[in-house]
Symmetry: C2
Subunit: 239 residues, 2 copies
């Protein structure tokens, strides 16, 4: 483990790293669909939704003339296409809004809240997520995530892994990049963070994508910390 | 009291409204000065520092070509002038940094933490302060302020009472202005917030400026709530 004594703040990827978006959404939508009398393959919808996530952010990157589009709006656009594609019938405007806001109602992994609570005693803790500020704020209240502040791609008008996000987070905290550690379950996110000078911690979340998971079962880079959960990160940082 | 049922988030002025900057700084500097062997009229320094606060932000407004300058940097510039003016001797670079960061170590008014904790059960609560993000984040950890997120003038690159701050806060929360209530001990701040469509709550802090206080002993506008402390705001909002 490299020298981490300068680290003052930990910034966290959220979808998959802190919260189990897939199980949360599928469960939420199944129960909601039963009550609302809407029939659909909710698992396929959720997996399809996440499958177009990366491409939807690429569209924003490729079209800067259109301005930044926050994740709630990207989610909504993608949902409308998927609803047509899967021929889900009977959804009103309010229903589409409710489903889109499902991303605000995600449950943490079992170790997340306890781990964050320990880490907060010694470090500033914040999300650094592609979710927009309102999404992350509502999720924190829903899931009991004890963030010190909310940092979102929206503040920088750039999605991860663009450099503006990692460097912007350090700047807002008035810290040098090496005083900030990125915590993520995704190697690509840590690779970018490391390339811009941040410290890195990997926590495997091998069930994030359910049976569809193909990568990120283990650390594939030279990360400063590799732990099995947030409690393990806290152990290694002496919290 | 007007209809406040649409309010989802409360945003707070911080210096003077949530924390007692004057007593905190004077006490902090007196003890520090004793230990460090630096002699000065710390009360005069603190009062002088705050007296140039508004003008220092005006300089940023008048010189947009220079870019936004965060409050820590304005504080530092003002401090250097005051140290020369008051002929305070023996301060090192580290001392100047320590004094400037005094604004990160402010104590809450006696009702602040309990009131915020009650309000947080029903509303999103955030600072909306001219303090920069790092200042507000460090202060929250120091003072135990249970914010859901940190919103600062720095995020909008405009100081209050510029409209970008109030409207920017509503936008980041994905709320309409009338769904956001500004809480402040300063009538000018509420007047601006109200003019941009936010709801308003006034809490008098009659000792904020000590013997120098000349205004804001009472509400001078038609605010939605007037209360004697944060507990009173919570009472009126049914928390």
């Amino acid at each position: 483990m490299s020298d981490l004594s300068a680290v003052k703040a930990l910034v966290f990827d959220v979808f998959g790293t802190v919260v189990d978006w897939r199980t949360s959404l599928i469960t939420d939508f199944m129960w909601w669909g039963k009550g609302r009398g809407i029939s659909a393959d909710w698992t396929a919808l959720v997996d399809g939704w996440r499958a177009v996530y990366s491409a939807s952010m690429d569209e924003v990157r490729k079209n800067p003339q259109n301005g930044y589009v926050m994740l709630d709006d990207l989610h909504r656009r993608s949902l409308e296409k998927l609803v047509a594609q899967f021929a889900i019938k009977g959804l009103t405007e309010a229903d589409l809004d409710h489903l889109t806001k499902g991303w605000h109602r995600l449950n943490p992994w079992p170790d997340s809240v306890a781990g964050l609570t320990r880490l907060k005693t010694k470090f500033v803790i914040s999300p650094l997520s592609n979710g927009n500020v309102a999404l992350l704020t509502n999720m924190a209240k829903f899931a009991g995530l004890p963030w010190d502040l909310i940092m979102s791609a929206e503040l920088f008008e750039h999605y991860k892994p663009d450099p503006e996000t990692y460097l912007g987070a350090a700047r807002l905290l008035s810290l040098k990049p090496e005083q900030v550690m990125m915590v993520a379950a995704h190697n690509y996110d840590l690779k970018a963070a490391q390339s811009y000078g941040l410290k890195t911690a990997f926590v495997a979340r091998p069930t994030e994508y359910g049976p569809l998971q193909k990568i990120d079962f283990e650390a594939t880079g030279d990360w400063d910390i590799v732990a099995k959960d947030f409690g393990g990160v806290a152990d290694k940082l002496g919290c």
